[in-house]
Symmetry: C4
Subunit: 216 residues, 4 copies
């Protein structure tokens, strides 16, 4: 039995530990962009209020990583062992999470400074990273799907159901960023709300339905 | 048995791992606000001493997160599995911990620079976040309470006992910040001591009393 | 049985936890070098594009740490217990990972600023750290090798196979940095691609072949 | 049995997870003080070389935290459960580790800038934190010692053997800092080598001697 435990544990525990570490740090590093504002003595309050775009993008990105973690948790509940391909697909997911503080900071800075061109750039950058992040999930699920058809039935979830959400998400990000470029960057900020869609539709923590043995 | 272990483990271990990661990082990031002071060559000592508000708020915030972790540890000892609602309630708790370094830095900076208006602002900001943090705990315990009345009796602790402390804490923070605004910001600094109250009254690491089966 | 579990767990779990934490943080800290560029209002896009060396070195270093983690994971799958010497060999590996963000930042800065002398310096610094990192692995495997010949057969993998890769890697780094110094620093940037070699040849997540009992 | 596992696990696993997180982050944050040096274009190499005090203090602090982790690992191997007092003693140990990057940065900066007064201040600050860290260990072992005499025999190790090392360490730090103040700060730098003493004498990863049942 010890051997079983070892095999099982080594295979997924460390991948999950690394991932949890990355998600926890990415979440927490976001706060480094909330700085004491430059302000004249006595007008700290005004300085703090002027930073509102920073608070909005902080919250949006925090929510985003929380959603990713939830999905990651949900996905790994069905994964009994990891192999080289799946591990690299997971690294892609982590890369997205690690990068998120960067466009978040750019977005906050652009909306604080106030040029429309810069806001546009920042919205597109944020959406572009979000599209990349959704893409890493499609790759991840595709790897899972391919594997489940050849090996154990443990990872069997409807492939269609899984890719549907990131694809809809990608479309939303493209439309949102497009509106931001064509009409006004402030409209493009709707991209910050898209994680709410992911959160609401997340399967991450639903009780897995009792899976009927696939071959039967 | 392996299956049991897996179900149990996946459900709480990753939530606790993410939370421990966030608490550990939030604790450690606080040190980034302790910087080498700007000083003329030869007067490093004076520069270091002038930073005393930074040390005070560092210690207060470190203590605060230590208390939160202790409570979190205590709460999760009674939680056998996590679901979607509880997971999001937990994310709220984490959000508070992640944010703490920000008002800590603002507070240290305001008391270093020395305008009374700014100090007032900083005290109120700190108290406001602390109220938010206490509120997330009330929500968390409320979710736990509701769940325990419908499902297993594992999470059953007196709901009243649990919310009492954050409610008293919130009142203390409001009174403290109020005194800081009306009288003098330095008095408002008592808000930094409130975590001591939480620490002393924490149930977090008391041996859970042998729980009598709830229905009997 | 509990005792067994305790002995086993304490020995490797905490070492792996510390290592996963370090790898996760080193991965994530890399993003701190991607900053909002200094730019005139309205030219954020140009500022972002000019930062391309930062993106390249970020990706290269992220990949590097991902590869190290993969190898570390692979190595520890065969390690049932840790002792003092192995623990310090592991600390050497962690030291390399912790340091990586530094030459990464130097490299990105040098190629952004644009003096050939500085680029040369930065390429050599990066290669020097990479050589150090490969060396820590050779030490690590040597410790494992020596131990496996005296105690249990659990860690037995071909020592020759294990050191071959870091030795080839070291040679590549020396040649790459040499070309960077003698010809042009941009050629030296090939050192950033060497982790791809490590990734492709990594045994980290191959199913361990069923190990024949060594003594038989 | 599941219950047993749960009680055991909850008690020590989360404390160790939090601690490992803090140690991993404190180790990794040290690298943030290694910055791209301010330098004229073309003289990056000279700028890097001038930063040597930063490299020395980085290595010393990395080694210090590695030693602390080793001791922590060793101590917790003998601890089967945690209670409120021990948990707070552990928080004291973590506080020391979290603070270490601060005097490290001060030391590196002082020796880079070059005024003797500042170097003296920095050496004393570093030694003062080191004394604090050693003191937290004495407290920690004292709590363990007191507990083991009243409850289970699991944590029984010679109390005398345990406090001997931090007490010698404290004396070394006081003498080292004293020499730094009275003679020359550069002599005070020997304090950076004291962790080597801790490392060499560490019991952290020695196989625990088969403990004879205490009562017998």
């Amino acid at each position: 039995m010890e051997e079983n435990w070892v095999n099982f544990a080594c295979n997924t525990i460390r991948t999950e530990a690394l991932s949890d570490g990355v998600f926890a740090i990415a979440m927490t590093l976001l706060v480094l962009d909330l700085r004491v504002p430059d302000h004249e003595t006595g007008s700290l309050l005004i300085g703090l209020l002027r930073q509102w775009p920073g608070y909005v993008s902080f919250l949006a990105s925090f929510l985003y990583i929380a959603v990713i973690w939830t999905n990651h948790h949900g996905a790994f509940r069905r994964i009994a062992s990891i192999d080289r391909v799946l591990s690299w697909a997971n690294m892609g997911v982590l890369l997205g999470a690690v990068l998120l503080p960067f466009p978040t900071a750019v977005l906050a800075d652009a909306f604080r400074a106030g040029s429309i061109e810069d806001e546009r750039t920042a919205v597109v950058l944020y959406a572009a990273l979000a599209v990349f992040m959704s893409t890493t999930w499609i790759v991840f699920f595709w790897v899972l799907h391919r594997r489940s058809s050849t090996t154990s039935s443990r990872d069997t979830v409807s492939w269609k159901a899984q890719v549907q959400r990131p694809i809809i998400g990608i479309l939303c990000y493209i439309v949102g960023a497009g509106l931001g470029v064509l009409i006004h960057p402030a409209i493009g900020l709707v991209v910050l709300l898209i994680p709410v869609y992911y959160a609401v539709t997340s399967e991450g923590l639903r009780r897995p339905r009792p899976v009927a043995p696939t071959g039967a």
